[in-house]
């Protein structure tokens, strides 16, 4: 029989995954020590942690560069994606004409077009932001379009009977109906913005002051400084998780009073 502590939702949602993570790190550490694995193959978690602290000045600068590109790209994807979605739902013709090109954007691998964009756009930060935006924008467009179209037909009839203007129907009906879908899009898109930023950095390979985490990974790889490579990797992962968590909180704040997905 389960103890009351283990059946608490807070324990299940937070403590349980943390415990699993701690156990896995312990196992990793133990295996590395027992089998005497050299640090240039697989460093121990403690070595990675030490590198994080010792190289913090270098890594935090890179983290900031990557984070800045990610946030700019994410913001751009949200603004442009939402705007595109509003344009698409204005008429079936507009959607039919433009949506295939949005899909084109989605299916083209960013690795394949990043070199072109980096050649065309002189400013390196802007080039990277454009690449990451292209990766992150599609879920925003497709989810918001789906949301704006997923209006209860009965409510639409109610608005028609009451002579609602197009603006009223958008403001009071379509936008609230679309919000759950929009927030779903945000969750997918924030992770993609980070992936887009890292992939674009890999392709760009810019050095010097503007070096992001991907550059640190490349450099650490060349220098066989594997603990630093892992440290950079950890920072990217933690950033992604925190971004996702922020979107979950945002979604809960916006929808918790009514939408099924956010009910406790």
């Amino acid at each position: 029989m389960a103890s009351p502590l283990l059946s608490r939702p807070a324990v299940q949602r937070i403590a349980a995954p943390l415990a699993v993570g701690a156990l896995m790190l312990l196992a990793w550490q133990a295996v590395c020590i027992w089998l005497d694995v050299p640090p240039y193959l697989v460093p121990t978690p403690s070595a990675i942690a030490r590198t994080l602290v010792e190289d913090w000045a270098l890594l935090s600068g890179s983290l900031w560069v990557t984070l800045r590109i990610t946030m700019l790209a994410f913001a751009l994807a949200v603004v442009l994606g939402t705007a595109a979605a509003f344009v698409f739902v204005q008429s079936r013709l507009i959607e039919a004409s433009l949506f295939p090109y949005a899909i084109l954007l989605q299916v083209t691998p960013v690795v394949a077009i990043a070199p072109l964009i980096i050649i065309w756009v002189k400013e390196p930060t802007l080039a990277l932001v454009i690449c990451a935006t292209m990766v992150a924008i599609f879920p925003i467009i497709s989810n918001t379009v789906l949301g704006l179209r997923s209006v209860n037909p009965g409510l639409l009839n109610l608005f028609r009977i009451n002579r609602a203007t197009r603006w009223d129907t958008l403001r009071r009906l379509r936008i609230p109906s679309a919000l759950p879908y929009f927030f779903g899009g945000l969750r997918i898109s924030c992770g993609l913005a980070l992936i887009g930023a890292v992939v674009a950095e890999f392709v760009a390979g810019t050095g010097g002051t503007g070096a992001g985490l991907a550059y640190q990974i490349l450099q650490a790889g060349f220098a066989l400084n594997i603990p630093r490579l892992f440290a950079a990797l950890v920072l990217i992962t933690v950033t992604g998780v925190l971004l996702f968590g922020a979107m979950v909180v945002l979604s809960r704040l916006a929808l918790s009073h009514w939408h099924e997905s956010e009910l406790a």
Binding site: G154, L155, N157, I161, L179, W258
Partner: protein, 279 residues
């Protein structure tokens, strides 16, 4: 707010007049065949028939949500929808409200905002709209529930909110499309009783779609019986029951007689065999 010149109503011009109205869908299905019908002020008219008889389609035409394929409709003697134009020349308000099969509430808005929606859409001043909203909620017995969200209410209570939303507009014509069809029988009977009382008290004009003979007889002053394939009107029956209809009316011989007569009419339309006259 509702004048009650009940006795002169039979001689008043119809609120709604459908002349040889037909509805054919693009795939060739004839949903309605030459329907001629008028609704006079203060009537409670039920459209009764089996699935596919076009009763919901007819209500959509009445609400202006669809246009007839042939024939024409007149609302208050005019060929345009109520609300499509400013107040009538004689200063009378002419509003139409509809209650759907589902409660059709906005889940993101609380009960008060849901009920006030039609008034907000009509740009009614906030104070006046709030007053109307409170009165409508009180009428359906939900005065204390303004701040509650729809998901926290039972199906029957959600339907009451939906009715309050229609009543808040103080409609001159209230269209109801099987509003209680999804509810259990006890809730349905109670809401029927409440609706009938509201109708009597407020002097409403109601067109009510249902496939329940009992519900139609209990509620209506007139029952329009419809048949399917193609959808058409086969009888127009006055229900001269008592003005006040309580639970005793539901089991009275008079009630049973009306039910038997409507039942026979429906059976005849669907089998083509004339039954023995129950009267």
């Amino acid at each position: 707010m509702f004048a009650d010149p009940r006795d002169t109503r039979a001689f008043e011009a119809p609120i709604l007049f459908a002349n040889q109205v037909e509805k054919t869908y693009p795939n060739g299905t004839v949903a309605l065949e030459r329907v001629k019908l008028s609704i006079r002020p203060g009537e409670f008219v039920s459209l009764l028939g089996p699935s596919g008889c076009g009763k919901s389609t007819l209500l959509k035409l009445f609400a202006g949500l669809e246009a007839p394929s042939a024939g024409h409709l007149r609302w208050w003697g005019e060929g345009t929808l109520p609300g499509a134009r400013p107040a009538a020349a004689d200063g009378a308000r002419r509003t139409l409200a509809m209650v759907f099969q589902e409660a059709t509430l906005m889940p993101w808005a609380n009960v008060a905002d849901n009920v006030r929606l039609p008034l907000d859409l009509a740009r009614m001043p906030r104070e006046q709209a709030n007053e109307r909203m409170r009165r409508a909620l009180a009428l359906v017995g939900l005065a204390q529930f303004g701040q509650v969200y729809p998901r926290e209410l039972s199906g029957g209570m959600q339907m009451r909110v939906s009715i309050a939303r229609a009543l808040a507009t103080e409609p001159d014509l209230l269209l109801m499309d099987e509003p209680f069809g999804a509810l259990d029988e006890f809730t349905r009977n109670r809401l029927d009783a409440d609706l009938r009382a509201l109708w009597a008290e407020r002097g409403l004009t109601v067109v009510f779609v249902t496939h329940s003979i009992y519900e139609a007889v209990y509620l209506s002053s007139r029952v329009v019986v419809m048949a399917a394939r193609p959808g058409r009107v086969i009888a127009d029956v006055a229900i001269d029951g008592p003005a006040v209809r309580d639970e005793a009316y539901r089991v009275s011989p008079e009630f049973m007689q009306h039910c038997a007569r409507l039942s026979a009419l429906l059976a005849q339309a669907n089998t083509g065999v004339a039954p023995a006259d129950p009267a």
